[in-house]
């Protein structure tokens, strides 16, 4: 019978007391660890997806919402912006802007967002294709690694997108199937859970008006253009469509009462057209996109400091710098997280005090048995060790249960996030703070047991057995 086994037997001899200590300790440890894991993964996800973006430009509304939507794809867009307004920022010769990535949102496939954009999106996220090729025509799509995994899609598969940012079968654009031509290798960025395609695809599945083709493929595009004429667009002004979920943007003229499932779009749109060139994109002034991700040529150029301010003051657009907005978000999140962590710490202290009271009280009832251990030759240090071990084992048990609880809750939470936003959190990652929490748990257990252990150590056998 080792001292550890004896300490263990003593602990489990009082199951209700054990349960109380475990619940308190596990709750505090679990809450603390869960918050650390969540905060860490959230910040890492956000940082991964910063992608060197210096500025996001979109429709007037909330800057945070626009950034969450355009960069993290977890919120609805603030609205759409006209190409006429967006045009200056897509100009490759802009003195301050190195790269602009236009984004057109509004559709999804089984909950995975479809983003109309340009080939540069892969460079933005430092991603590479694992299979296939990039799109060369509209209605061709490249899917993220996670989309391919989750939906079992492969090159050559065709699917119908659905209107809106969340899955809804009755909003399917069943007139225009998208064909998968490429799969992006996992990059750990938001690109993993996106379906990217040409901007023209997004316009085509919504818009039945001709999209000007500035150069090349005249005959084919004329044909495609012609084939759209005479379509029945009853009650659906596609030139000013309001994507579902743009509920924060007041587009009074955006009629959204239509039912896409019942549109008589005909088959004309299913004919792919060559992908848009930047010149064609700029030329399509009557069209809309959702937002633009911008990288500056020189971040330290003082003129970049006033760019966002000027856009916000003098245009119909909203410009927001992700690092600044995200820092504000982290601050707000951090405040809440810190409050909860403080609460968890308080619970841990209360739990430690409860262990202390329990051990201290038990000394009264156990003083004879402890004295008899001394009589049979146990040294004072052995009794000190026994009581300390009981405190430490209790804390360790609480730690194990708490960490298990944190992983369980995180697993469920990650599953919910994944189901809702297709945003992946890894519930199996070991957060480095776990060792500090372990050390802290052992420390609390030891501290809680310290005074009772000293009492046991300094026990006067004669005095105890005489009374």
């Amino acid at each position: 019978m080792s001292w550890i086994r004896l300490a263990w037997k003593n602990i489990i001899h009082e199951p209700l007391t054990l349960l109380l200590h475990l619940m308190l300790f596990a709750l505090s440890i679990g809450l603390m660890y869960f918050l650390l894991m969540l905060n860490d993964q959230l910040v890492k996800k956000f940082d991964n997806n910063l992608a060197g973006v210096d500025l996001v430009i979109g429709a007037k509304g909330s800057g945070l919402q626009m950034i969450l939507c355009s960069m993290y794809h977890v919120d609805a867009p603030t609205g759409n912006i006209s190409m006429a307004d967006a045009k200056p920022f897509l100009n490759p010769n802009h003195p301050l802007i190195k790269t602009t990535l236009p984004l057109s949102l509004g559709d999804n496939y089984k909950g995975y967002r479809i983003v109309g954009t340009e080939h540069g999106v892969l460079d933005f996220y430092k991603a590479k294709l694992s299979e296939g090729r990039l799109w060369t025509h509209s209605l061709e799509a490249v899917i993220g690694a996670e989309v391919a995994d989750a939906l079992g899609l492969k090159i050559g598969d065709r699917f119908f997108s659905s209107h809106g940012l969340e899955e809804a079968d009755d909003l399917s654009h069943d007139h225009a199937a998208l064909t998968i031509v490429g799969i992006v290798a996992p990059s750990g960025s938001v690109l993993d859970q996106l379906i990217v395609t040409d901007t023209r695809t997004v316009w085509d599945v919504h818009d039945h008006q001709a999209i000007p083709v500035v150069e090349e493929d005249d005959s084919e595009d004329d044909h495609a253009h012609d084939s759209h004429e005479g379509h029945d667009h009853e009650g659906h002004d596609h030139a000013h469509h309001d994507h579902e979920g743009h509920d924060h943007h007041d587009h009074a003229h955006h009629d959204h009462d239509h039912d896409h499932a019942h549109h008589d779009h005909g088959q004309g749109h299913s004919n792919a057209k060559p992908m848009l060139t930047r010149a064609e994109l700029i030329a399509a002034e009557d069209q809309e996109i959702t937002s633009m991700l911008i990288r500056y040529k020189n971040k330290t150029d003082f003129r970049t400091l006033s760019l966002a301010r000027n856009i916000n003051a003098n245009t119909n657009l909203l410009a927001a710098a992700p690092p600044m907005v995200l820092n504000m978000l982290y601050d707000k999140m951090g405040l809440g997280t810190r409050a909860l962590q403080f609460l968890a710490l308080l619970i841990a202290i209360v739990s430690g005090i409860s262990i202390f009271i329990s051990l201290f009280n038990s000394l009264r009832t156990r003083k004879y048995e402890l004295a008899l251990l001394r009589v049979t030759g146990a040294k004072p240090a052995s009794l000190f060790g026994l009581i300390s071990l009981e405190g430490i084992i209790l804390a360790l048990l609480g730690f194990v249960v708490g960490i298990a609880l944190a992983y369980l809750v995180f697993y469920l939470f990650a599953g919910q996030l994944s189901d809702k936003y297709h945003y992946q959190f890894n519930p199996l990652v070991l957060h480095p703070s776990i060792w500090w929490i372990l050390l802290g748990s052992v420390g609390i257990g030891f501290l809680a047991a310290l005074f009772p252990a000293i009492k046991a150590y300094s026990m006067d056998i004669h005095h105890t057995l005489s009374h």
């Binding site: 489990i12 048995e369 146990a378 004669h462």
Partner: protein, 213 residues
């Protein structure tokens, strides 16, 4: 085997008790009788190495036990002195046999299950080995306490008011068990009590005078 010389103890309130000298050889027994307050328990604790006397010496196996360091005294007590108390206290969370194994382990001896089983059988509690102390009767617990006192084959066993709460039959039975174990193991046995019935079981006895009187 055990010998005392000029033992006395002064309490914090300056009350001083002086004890008579005596010696008990191997396989011998001694009854120390005294009224309440005569210093029986104090003497027992001095003999057991739990209370250092103000004056005098206790020699056990030709060693003055109070010349040892406290650490060595703890080990010596575990190896050479067994004690039985009126109230038998055990670790409540472990079984009867585990309590005895623990005593053997603390006494720096290897756990000898054969010896433990033999002792349990001799004390007629072999069938209660796996019971928790709380599940045992008063008599069984007392025999378990005797087993714990003898498990490390001590040179000296000290018994404190062991029979005070027992009827005549059980009293005789417990004394018989103690004496039998002492003789089998070659142990010296010292019993302190105020129970006058025990005089008939012990050929050697001393009476402590009440220092309050």
């Amino acid at each position: 085997m055990i010998q005392t010389n000029n033992l006395s103890h002064t309490f914090s309130d300056q009350v001083r008790i002086t004890f008579p000298d005596f010696s008990v050889g191997q396989k011998e027994s001694l009854l120390i009788l005294g009224e309440s307050g005569a210093g029986k328990t104090t003497l027992l604790h001095i003999l057991g190495g739990m209370l250092k006397p103000t004056d005098g010496a206790v020699h056990l196996m030709n060693e003055n036990i109070y010349s040892f360091s406290s650490r060595k005294l703890d080990s010596f007590r575990g190896d050479h002195i067994g004690m039985v108390f009126q109230q038998a206290h055990f670790i409540p969370s472990i079984s009867a046999i585990e309590n005895i194994r623990l005593a053997q382990r603390i006494g720096s001896k290897k756990v000898d299950n054969q010896a433990i089983n033999n002792l349990f059988d001799r004390l007629n509690i072999g069938h209660r080995k796996e019971a928790l102390p709380s599940e045992m009767s008063q008599g069984e617990r007392q025999r378990l306490a005797i087993a714990r006192a003898f498990i490390n084959t001590p040179s000296l066993v000290l018994a404190d008011e062991l029979t005070s709460a027992l009827d005549d039959t059980n009293c005789a039975s417990v004394i018989a068990l103690l004496k039998e174990q002492s003789e089998q193991m070659g142990t010296s046995l010292i019993m302190v009590t105020h129970d006058q019935r025990l005089k008939e079981y012990f050929s050697n006895s001393i009476i402590l005078k009440n220092w309050n009187a």
